[in-house]
Amino acid sequence: MPDPSSIADVLKEKLGAESVLEFKAQRQRRAYVTVGPAFIKDAIRILMEAGFKHLSTITGLDTGSEIEVIYHLGDYSNVVSLRTKLQRDSPELPSCIDLLPGASLYEREVHDLLGVNFKGHPDLSPLVLPEGWPSGLYPLRKNHTIEDITKRLDAPLNEGGQP
């Protein structure tokens, strides 16, 4: 069975010591590892080769200063949360659906809610947001409060049918 606590060493060995920015094995069966955006796809591939092939989901997160994208990969027993941090203006990552076809809807969800552009995804059309949702309004971004969002949705429609 693959061991999540050794995953940082495996990544460093294959991608170089500079690839891994943070690592913690929080408890049994849980590890959190942060890599630079340039390494994300190679890191996913290496984790899959190590046996972590089940993608539970992808979490997108706005800390207010940067966007984090976290891939929760596992072998059902363990969960390795592979994180990368992106600039808030035009965050972008390569799509991983060629490695993980099951990532397709999760990438679309993160795109909808946080505006992360997954390059190479064939269809980033809205998945969870309604038709006519204002473009560029990413509801999980910290600068949009619930009140702001409500106000924009209540505004009269423009010619494009958007509030």
């Binding site: 069966r29 929760h72 809807l105 619930i146």
Partner: protein, 394 residues
Amino acid sequence: MSKGTSFEIPIGPQHPALKEPESFTFVVDGENVVDVKPRIGYNHRGIEKALEARTYLQNLYLIERVCGICSHAHVFCYSQNVEEAAGIEAPPRAKYIRTIVAELERIHSHLLWVGIAAHEIGFDTLFMYAWRDREVVMDLLELISGNRVNYAMNTIGGVRRDIQSDVAEEVRKGLQKLEERAKYYTGICTSERTILRRAVGVGILKPADALTLSAVGPTLRASGIGRDIRRDDPYGAYDEIPFNVITHDGCDVASRVIVRLGETLEAIGIVRYALEHLPEGEIKVRAPRTVASNESVSRVEAPRGELIHYIRSNDTDKPERYKIRSPTLGNILSVCKMLVGGYVADIPIVLAAIDPCFSCTDRMAFVDIEGEREWHMTGEELRRYGIKWYEAKG
């Protein structure tokens, strides 16, 4: 596909009176489904955003309402997630009580599903029987928690209600009846001709596809893959309770029926064992109001499969971020795979077979790809169409 013979059939999205709405556009060639495009989100209520604006205690009540059928699974997952981030642990008795309610919820969910699946193939007698018997477990849940759904059993640090010995005795009696009925349904579902005709070889999901698409729960286990969070990543009291992970290798709708009925029987065994071995002691520990900066991933095996929650805390009484991925989302790509290559008449039962929080086939438009013809059908009409199609086929 050649122009003029292929049609796009949008199915969904809404029936507000029932469960979660979703929409699927089917590209069909005659009776064959060629491609499926899912569109979800019609019930996206912005709960993750709302969670960031509420305290951990308030969020208990919001999380309980993520799902009407598996509300306990969500709040079980949430409670242990916040507990891990806050560095506290629920007492053993609380873990057992959480586990007991979780398994009773699984029994109610699976019996509900047997009824829905029977209805989809036109076997309404079985639908009525299954739902009548489901009332037995609903009564037990009400006896324990005071509620038929949204049990509100959990709090951060434990549970809010104890299970006394007189209640435990009533639960045991109810389990006796449920066991008899579950065994009876297992017999029916593996021998009755109508069910076999509509379920065997229908909605195939090969093991390799199930793994590639990261399928979860009974959908995955009915493709012969024995993965179950309760055993593989134990939580609550599951590391102390013996049970079997039920699998079947038919990869079809019939296998999904067999797996769920097998799991119902296992769940009865788990509840019995847990009641027998219920540890003495406190049912909750005191939880802090604020949670220091931390993060945690929590998973439970909900009735529909792996449920995963992620929390980021930030030294306040509200989460920085709370992420939920319900099992149905994990199975949407798999159900699309099952439908491609199948018949239009099989759409209702194949969709139902992942047990989605889904009920939206109530309004459909059939549109040919050149836009020359357009007509509408309701989900009920599609269901009847499926039944008639099989009758005509003999």
